[in-house]
Amino acid sequence: MENYEYILETEHVSKYFGELEVLKDINLKVKKGEVICIIGPSGAGKSTYLRSLNQLEKITSGKIFIKGDLFLHREKGKTVERIDKAKQKQLLLEMGMCFQRFNLFPHKTVLDNVMLAPITVKKEQPKVIREEALELLRQVGLEEKANEYPNRLSGGQQQRVAIARALAMKPEIMLFDEPTSALDPELVGDVLQVMKGLAQSGMTMLCVTHEMGFAKEVADRVIFMADGIIAEEGVPDKIFNNPENERTKSFLKSILNA
């Protein structure tokens, strides 16, 4: 058994953009296999929070633990506890990420996109990783597109390749940063289907999303963020049907009436 209680834990995470405080003392504990959807109005700091988890944004202060190990500890914009580089990288690789705009590598084929990181970062044998990559592409339903370049794919297909690419590093946590926001409405379904399958397979997921239907159906916990704080959290049923916070109420009202 693994010797940790929470696979991901953040303590007092805050973040400034200049004078502007975009994250205010965020505490979150995520159990293994939990699916968490983060919702909230734009500018609430949802994406910033997600991106600071894997260091795409540098937090100003706070602690981040991955699988019980300290991953990052910063205070007032400076790293206070130095963590062994190799250890930190290993922890970083426990997190896979999908972006709103996919960010596939346009100069590589779909298959090469999936294979690049395992080959360069983990130094795995191309022959071995090739089979795994094809299997992942099969999972997301794009095996026959393996030798196409990303620009020949629809947005939904590109996002599914991006999911396969992140999964190729065998992460234990998947971060989704508005994965369906840049997609045409009819393409959203396929991506959500893949994410649903992933959730059912026991993957720990943090999902910034505007797909309330998906959050209701799949999430174990929904977090409502506003103005850089977690305004309210709870099971989907409670958040969507019995919100307590005024901001949550007005947000849901504006979304559901749109």
Binding site: R51, N54, M97, H107, A117
Partner: protein, 346 residues
Amino acid sequence: MKILKKVVNVKGWQKATKRNIVILVLVIIAAAVLSVMKPEKEAMLSCTSEEVQNMIAQDENSSRKRVTITYNSLVVINYCSVSSSGAREISERFIGFFGKTYPANEGAAKVIGQMVNYTYRMLGCGENVMHGAKLTILLTALTILIGVVLGIFLALGKISKKKLLSKLCSGYIFFFRGTPLLIQLFVIYFSVPSMLGFAWRDLFSAGDNQAVYKGAFVAALIAFALNSGAYCAEIVRAAIQSIDKGQYEASKALGMSYGQTMSKVIIPQSIRRMIPPVCNEFIMVLKDASLVFAISLMDITTISKNIMTSEGSYLVFIPALIIYLVITACFTYVFDKIEKKFSVYE
């Protein structure tokens, strides 16, 4: 390998490419026919006057030659001149074309003959690689090759977060773009050896009678490559900075280091964007290469200038221009094709 496959895949070619290839093949066939048809040296010499033929026959048995024979074979056309100096000055010129030899001692035929002769010399035909167009192209190609590699490192240095490295690279670029290439060439060729106490020809063995030229070539190459590196650095920097930020984020999220991100993701994508400006830079360097006349390398410009002074022919610069134009046209076409091949994913 992929590029090779694409080139071989005839079905995938565009209509215009096919047409151009057909035209090119026809031109080559026509040129081949004409080059086979044109009269050889002996045939042309047999058209000379009886007096000259006697002199040539006498020359064969004596060690002291009285007649100078120039024979230039330029693809489809031949030029032959026979001259002797001394008591009896003779000068007979001929052009050979399509199986016939025509006298070229006056009028339009004389001009054509001269042009053939000048072009032949400016292209560096019948000489080693240190002559004429061959030297120009070799110098340019090597300059760009070194310049792009140097430019990539300079650009990476300039955008680096390490302050000192960044300042150094910026300073280098500022210096080489801010001073004239000709003076840089002089500094490398004259000043540096005099300061350090060596000569460029010493790089090659003393017995090599081309050592002076080879030494000058090395000096020119160094000066041009250093200069071109600065220009290429700006090209590379612009290309790297035009790559979407998301590419860095995706690479970082996948655990790739800065070096891996650069070498596997960013630079391969930048190269596609670098091709048009590097093509431009290539053509700039090709033209700037004419500056080597200042250090007596025998490039197109130097040869045309020498012809002008030694033979008093002011028309020589026109074929020189045309040769430069043809070379740039060829390279522009090739670069165009490369650019299209690389654009599959954009």
